[in-house]
């Protein structure tokens, strides 16, 4: 693994843009080769949108960082062509234990939904995900997809104009200027783009620090998520131990807000902390450790003129709940199809605004989750601690109290309930497929529903008549006709029909539901499509 850390996977090489007299204009420039920038670029390119990705680095992240991926982000990665690799390399887990001090208080198992192709969670180091995404870019390039990744390209200055952005890019061979119709800034928590445009990132709800370590350890310990409240080896704080692929184990020790970071990061201090956690007999090798500081906050607006922020540049939360990179992947998913439609003239620029509305709502939800978990894990008042301890004590014996134990609610898919792209619900169907929600997966013979949705709009009909395709102002919707008669597992019926005899769904390119009713109505359907593309 150390090999890949240092190998330049996208080394600097001179671009023809650098030898042009005038700045070359690109439809989309993405800054940043973290998971979010890479996913955004792949998504755009696979939909035929020309994209240039600039990164000041040339290799994948050091250390595991974000390593727990939820079902929805896994579905997104599958849609953008990385599913196989994720499935092959990721580690599936579903069980966990919760400790108070040294004492186990209970264990749990996530219910897996057999109707879904993807499990609730898969663990894979962030660097492995980045490697998979870069491989995907290389594959797309072999198929002549319009995607470029430029390593060693550091964005130094940004100029905003009414209909484009100018970027000054520093390279080992000097600087050059390019232009973009749209700029997507996926340049991380310290976003230089944010700073260069003078956009504040305030409203911090709180800050915290974690000692994060990857250790190599051969052990027959099960692949479970173990969480400690107030363990003897990290008093007053929390600890997390989880398995990653390749005999790597991930440890997160919460350190609290006021610490000496340098002191904490010293290898001898890290090792002695890990020793007291794992015991003197444990044999392990420390592979990577980092003191990770974060703030819990988001930008007020994710869109500034022609610059759009996605991932950590737009929002940050605590690692409790694995919501950081998972949220960023959903940003990419939400944005790519909108940019495509706007660039191709199929939708007004107003459609982009819905990206902010939908994703800021999710960011707020993630931040609230982060705040709740932190209050439970490190109570701020004496009374809060008394209540927390009472919950933990009761949780040992009683199921009702377990539901109150909050060691970080793991990431769940965003549902865009208040989105302006939704049409009013016109089906008395199941709640889980209401307008705004992500389309639930379902088995269809030897494949799955999400596999066949593709990258465009879909008209899903279940035992309802409808045209095979509908075109409205350049936007094409393809029909997918299914029947409850073929629904052996009853998943389709349970998730899309409920007690209704038939149903018609309008599904967005990002696999969220925009509208539904019992039967096809041309006028209503076209109105729903216009609304879903920002035209109403």
């Amino acid at each position: 693994m150390t090999k890949t850390f240092d190998a330049p996977l996208y080394a600097y090489s001179r671009s023809p843009d650098q030898d042009e007299g005038l700045p070359v204009r690109h439809p989309v420039v993405v800054i940043g080769a973290g998971p979010v920038g890479l996913a955004t670029a792949v998504d755009l390119a696979q939909q035929g949108v020309k994209v240039v990705l600039l990164s000041d680095g040339d290799h994948i992240a050091k250390g595991s960082r974000a390593f727990c991926f939820g079902q929805r982000p896994l579905e997104i990665l599958d849609r953008i062509g990385c599913g196989h690799e994720m499935m092959d390399r990721g580690l599936h887990w579903s069980k966990g234990k919760v400790f108070l001090g040294q004492r186990e208080i209970y264990d749990f198992a996530h219910a897996e939904d057999p109707g879904h192709k993807w499990p609730a969670f898969l663990n894979l180091q962030q660097y492995a995900l980045e490697e998979i995404l870069i491989t995907r870019i290389r594959d797309l390039q072999k198929q002549d997809a319009p995607i470029e990744i430029r390593g060693g390209n550091k964005v130094e200055a940004i100029g905003q104009h009414d209909d484009h952005v100018t970027l000054e890019v520093e390279t080992p061979e000097g600087s050059y200027t390019i232009e973009a119709d749209w700029l997507v800034a996926c340049d991380g928590a310290n976003s230089p783009t944010r700073r260069m445009l003078g956009i504040p990132f305030d409203g911090t709800m709180f800050e915290d620090n974690f000692l994060i370590a990857d250790i190599e350890m051969t052990t027959d310990r099960p692949a479970e998520r173990w969480f400690w409240f107030d363990p003897p080896f990290n008093q007053g704080q929390s600890a997390l131990l989880q398995k990653q692929p390749d005999n790597l184990w991930r440890i997160d020790l919460q350190l609290g807000p006021d610490i000496d970071k340098e002191q904490e990061a010293r290898p001898e201090n890290v090792t002695s902390r890990l020793r007291s956690m794992l015991g003197d007999e444990a044999s392990f090798t420390l592979k990577w450790a980092s003191v990770y500081s974060f703030q819990c906050c988001r930008m007020e607006n994710f869109i500034h003129g022609r610059t759009i922020f996605a991932g950590d540049s737009a929002h940050q939360v605590s690692p409790f709940g694995a919501r950081g990179a998972n949220a960023g992947l959903q940003d990419a998913d939400n944005l790519a199809w909108k940019l495509k439609l706007v660039l191709e003239g199929g939708a007004p620029a107003a459609l982009i605004q819905s990206y902010h509305i939908e994703r800021a709502c999710s960011a707020d939800e993630n931040m609230q989750n982060s705040v709740n978990a932190t209050e439970f894990i490190t109570p701020k008042s004496e009374t809060s601690r008394i209540l927390r301890d009472a919950v933990l004590t009761l949780a040992k014996d009683y199921d009702f109290a377990r539901s109150m134990v909050n060691s970080g609610r793991l990431t769940t898919p965003s549902n865009y309930d208040t989105s302006p792209l939704n049409s009013a619900d016109a089906l008395a169907g199941p709640d889980m497929s209401r307008p705004g929600s992500r389309c639930p997966d379902a088995p269809l013979g030897d494949h799955y529903l999400l596999d066949v949705l593709g990258n465009g709009f879909t008209l899903l009909t279940i035992d309802a008549d409808a045209p095979d395709s509908v075109t409205e102002n350049d936007v094409i919707v393809k029909r997918l006709a299914l029947s409850a008669r073929d629904d052996i597992s009853r998943t389709l019926t349970r998730q899309f029909l409920g007690d209704c005899p038939s149903a018609v769904y309008l599904i967005r390119p990002d696999q969220h539901i925009a509208a539904r009713r019992e039967s096809y109505d041309d006028l209503q359907f076209r109105a729903a499509l216009r609304r879903a593309t920002g035209k109403e």
Partner: protein
């Protein structure tokens, strides 16, 4: 569930044995230190809350408890 669909907070006598309940509550704390007592109160509160189960009703009770007796002001 909306506020008006929920049964309102009962603020008239509802206990079948008010004296008995109060004595049991006080007696439960006999011999406990302050921190043991605090923990007991917290456990009791959580058990009762789960029994009620209705968040709207529980929020109404929390708000009521935050209001100082003999005044309409919140603490």
């Amino acid at each position: 569930m909306s506020e008006n669909q929920t049964a309102p907070l009962v603020l008239t006598q509802n206990l079948d044995d008010a004296d008995g309940f109060y004595a049991a509550l006080v007696n439960a704390h006999t011999g406990l230190t302050k921190s043991q007592s605090d923990a007991l109160n917290a456990r009791l509160l959580l058990i009762l809350a789960n029994q009620i189960g209705d968040t709207v009703l529980l929020r109404a009770a929390i708000n009521k408890a935050r209001t100082e007796p003999n005044s309409q002001n919140s603490i």
